[in-house]
């Protein structure tokens, strides 16, 4: 599903964010990206979403080299990738329903599809009773559930999560991880950057550890360290 071949990303000032990374992630895998701040986790995720382009190396998504995609094709790539932010990035003036519907509306989905898919995904994330609430009326965990619903409403093949529990307490984080696990069981590949030792150690999924841009560990059913 995802394949990196000798990928190197260098930012201005010769800052190497990722160095010669080669990795293969199968369809339906759940992968944790771990490492200290600045180790290259976010860059790894941004490269998969084509927010960044590597200086050298090739990234394949479902067999396609995404580096060679024309810029007009990038939006179509992203429709197959869900993205979850640490700070949720919900639109304050839109309700829960509108925030999720927005993701379908802006890719041109018909209204009848939106009316069908949005309630279904809100039920999956357990927010059926809060469709008319605004983000400020929700707890952190609920806001992250809305963010997950928005990322998953278009049923993407891949879900990228950049520290989705970073702003949540441990108990709420467990609920979010259960939800991501449930999504993963539908066959969606999940790649999650995290600092949360407890979550990684509890879930025992594949762990890729980065240290100053270098992959130093790739362990099936791994732990944080």
């Amino acid at each position: 599903m995802i394949k990196l071949e000798n990928v190197t990303k260098v930012y201005k000032g010769d800052v190497v964010a990722l160095r010669d990374a080669t990795i293969d992630i199968a369809k339906g895998e759940f992968v944790f990206l771990v490492g200290a701040s600045g180790s290259g986790k976010s860059t790894f995720i941004k490269l998969l979403n084509r927010e960044e382009i590597p200086e050298t190396g090739t990234i394949y998504m479902a067999g396609k080299d995404i580096g060679s995609l024309g810029s007009w094709k990038v939006p179509y790539l992203r429709r197959n990738i869900g993205y979850i932010f640490q700070d949720f990035k919900l639109l304050r003036k839109k309700t829960v329903y509108e925030n999720v519907a927005f993701a379908l509306e802006v890719i041109g989905k018909p209204r009848q599809v939106i009316r069908k898919q949005v309630p279904a995904i809100l039920e999956l994330v357990g927010l059926s009773s809060k469709v008319e609430n605004f983000p400020d009326q929700l707890s952190g965990g609920e806001q992250q559930r809305v963010s997950i619903a928005r990322a998953f409403v278009n049923r993407p093949l891949i879900l990228l999560a950049d520290e989705p529990t970073g702003n949540l307490d441990p108990q709420t984080s467990v609920g979010i991880m259960r939800l991501l696990d449930r999504i993963n069981r539908t066959g969606t590949t999940v790649v999650m950057a995290t600092h949360d030792r407890g979550i990684v150690d509890t879930m025992r999924r594949r762990v890729i550890e980065l240290d100053r841009g270098v992959i130093v560990r790739d362990q099936a059913r791994g732990v944080y360290e």
Binding site: N49, S71, W72, P75, Y76, L77, R78, R79, Y83, K89, L91, F102, A103, E105, V106, I107, G108, R150, A151, N154
Partner: protein, 298 residues
């Protein structure tokens, strides 16, 4: 991917309302600049129509009676040919006069229908060698009261002054309108950039979930176009008022006989209106294209 009309209208309206004061300033600036621009053309048309018979150095016109005899006509021609102070002259017969009359009064077909060609006087349009006002006056006096001559009208200094002043006013109108159009373009750009910045989080989400560049751009471009067209409509109203109450006023009062024919025809008004609309679209395309390519696609 097709953009839903409801989505486009809703987003555009929100963008316009979010910066309503800046929107109002932009629309007013576009309206005033296009009004000046259109006004320049309307005045040019009106002055051109009023002074058409004085083009090409013609300094006086000898109007003949429609029933002047061939001998009376020949006597006038002989004087014109033999005078060393006359460089050139043109004879405008009744049919040609009728054609001019039809152009001049195109907006009043009832008048055209009421006046047959044979009622219109033929004329000699004379170009003297020296356009000095005293020389012209002396020359034109030679034809006054002669058999077959109805009247002699000279393009005195007033007409020339009007042409000169109209040219100067036109340059001021034109320059002012071009400067204001430049300002309007910058205002459209500023307005759209402001809308882009205030919606930066929304735009980020749109990009992440896979909205195409055009889907993101279109509401902003429609926003620019809406402002420009609103300005153009205001300018059109102003031009209508200018034509109705100022330009036609010169004719209606009939106090300035020298400016007989100072008017704008329907087709000239239509041409000016279309030009104003076209320029408003151009201004909006330039302003919004620069805004979305520099601040949205980065």
């Amino acid at each position: 991917m097709a953009i839903s009309p409801i989505y486009a209208v809703r987003e555009t309206a929100q963008n316009l309302w979010r910066n309503v004061l800046l929107t109002a300033a932009t629309v007013i600036t576009i309206g005033v600049s296009l009004w000046l621009f259109g006004g320049f053309f309307l005045f040019n048309y009106a002055v051109g129509n009023a002074t058409a018979r004085w083009e090409g150095g013609i300094e006086f016109v000898v109007w003949m009676n429609p029933d002047a005899s061939p001998a009376q006509d020949a006597a006038i021609r002989t004087t014109l040919d033999e005078s060393p102070e006359i460089r050139d002259w043109t004879y405008v017969d009744q049919d040609q006069a009728y054609e001019e009359f039809k152009v001049l009064f195109a907006d009043t077909p009832e008048l055209i229908a009421a006046v047959p060609a044979e009622k219109l006087p033929p004329s000699y349009r004379v170009v003297p060698t020296d356009p000095n006002a005293d020389v012209v006056r002396e020359l034109s006096n030679q034809f006054k009261g002669r058999p077959g001559v109805r009247s002699v009208v000279s393009a005195d200094e007033t007409i020339r002054a009007i042409q000169t002043q109209a040219d100067k006013i036109g340059i001021v109108f034109f320059t002012g309108s071009v400067i204001l159009l430049g300002a309007a373009t910058l205002l459209i750009l500023t307005n759209i950039v402001s809308a882009i910045k205030s919606r930066s989080e929304e735009i980020e989400i749109m990009k992440v979930v896979g909205a195409t560049n055009w889907f993101i751009r279109i509401p902003f471009m429609i926003e620019g176009l809406t402002q420009a067209v609103m300005g153009a409509l205001g300018a059109w109203g102003g031009l209508w008022a200018l034509d109705r109450w100022v330009i036609r006023g010169f004719n209606d009062t009939n106090s300035l006989a020298l400016l007989d024919g100072f008017q704008v025809t329907s087709s000239e008004f239509m041409q000016t209106s279309l030009m104003v609309l076209g320029i408003s679209v151009l201004v909006s395309v330039i302003g919004s294209a620069v805004a979305v390519t520099r601040y949205l696609d980065a």
